[in-house]
Subunit: 246 residues, 2 copies
Amino acid sequence: MRKEKIPAATIIRLSVYQRYLKRLLANGVKVVSSSELAYEASVNPAQLRKDLSYFGRFGVRGVGYDVASLLNTISGILGLLDEWRVVLVGAGPIGQALLRHPQFSRQGYVFEAVFDFDENHIGKQLEGGHTVRAIEDLPKVIKERGIQLAVLAVPSERAQEIADVLVESGIKGILNFCTTRIRVPRGVSVQYVDFTILLDTLTYKISQNNTGNKEPVSSAKPKWAREHSWPVVQSNIQRQGVSLTS
Amino acid sequence: MRKEKIPAATIIRLSVYQRYLKRLLANGVKVVSSSELAYEASVNPAQLRKDLSYFGRFGVRGVGYDVASLLNTISGILGLLDEWRVVLVGAGPIGQALLRHPQFSRQGYVFEAVFDFDENHIGKQLEGGHTVRAIEDLPKVIKERGIQLAVLAVPSERAQEIADVLVESGIKGILNFCTTRIRVPRGVSVQYVDFTILLDTLTYKISQNNTGNKEPVSSAKPKWAREHSWPVVQSNIQRQGVSLTS
DNA sequence: TTTCAAAAGTGATTTTTATAACAATTTGAA
DNA sequence: TTCAAATTGTTATAAAAATCACTTTTGAAA
């Protein structure tokens, strides 16, 4: 079960499972079955078991998974047992909104420093106690503190230029809110957050439906839904990626 | 070439192609080859040609694609030739940042109204001339103006509840910034924007690299990169989805 | 004209991913 | 003890998607 190539979609699903496991744990649930957890995450239970099987055997047959222990296992796989420090580049509306987004700290991400190249922003105090610093300080801060993650929220025209600086300084992962594909060397990963692409896929679907060009819908209830008699809302995570990684 | 099932990833790539075509057009480029455009979008040129072939034949052999015409074609496929009106639910930091995000209007999306259930927000004037309205007004506004798209940026606990209202009111597509999977009936689509999931995939990769558990890297230059002698930075869009649609 | 290089379109093939199906294990009740 | 129900782990199968490799078309230079 080792050594096999692990689908990118599996990692994304692990993150979703992790989130629901946290909620179960908070609710005092001790044990969960693949069917239950898969239902929460809107995936096929066989998929969930398969996803886990890439990494080992964590359940008890006939019983299910221990919530606390599976949560810990998945967090470990994702590398989330420790805190991750992140630099934010770009203190515009999106950047500032992210600083205040509770989900980041809840998941163990800590914004260490904020940078911008706009003279008007530099030196400004932001909510949360961050002071906007000049891009020139980036390499120093990243190297000194050994930071590996960056959130990139600058105007798209400057995305590549900043990405180069980040990579040069030792950043290993970039969460990119810009609308340009950036190029990074092997060993550095990029994930894109691209709202309008997603909206475009929605408009595509709506347009299809409106023109009567309906998707061939398999109206039958999928077999796995019958494992339990839950209402079917097939909103699978399959193929969700947004990978764009390199 | 019609009637075939169209991969979700194809639609996402169309959106990426569209964006680069816009830039080419703005730069006065008249004609582009599949290799050039594919390089910009970081995909395999055969992939691009195949993506287009689902919808028709738009190029000229030996020549390439007319930029203006292909842009128009793709925009039409995606349903982007008209303006789309959107309601925003949730006037928190993320929601407000989105209102100010230029990419939306550039792509033809117009925020028609903003809603929140927080008494402290309701009635507040936001930059851009929007006044925050109470959730109670949602159904009326959506129905009266025939709005089909919604951006959902409320606290996750309330996501499903609001989604139900949106669906009930006639919304056909939801861009969901909440961290809960929402359930919607067939005919309604959902796209998830989930920052921390993406960060988690970055930490996974970084952790892998750090533990020496490297991905099996195919060090050879992919064949398609040899079509032109460009430097290879394999950051494919393949499998990017974030679909989670229903 | 003829020839050649460029480049689209597409069927065939390969790769990747998801699903199904079932044997193995566990628990608890008869 | 034995049996039945629950539920995992995993192999086999199917589905989906990406890539290749080849054919066709075009335009331009010789």
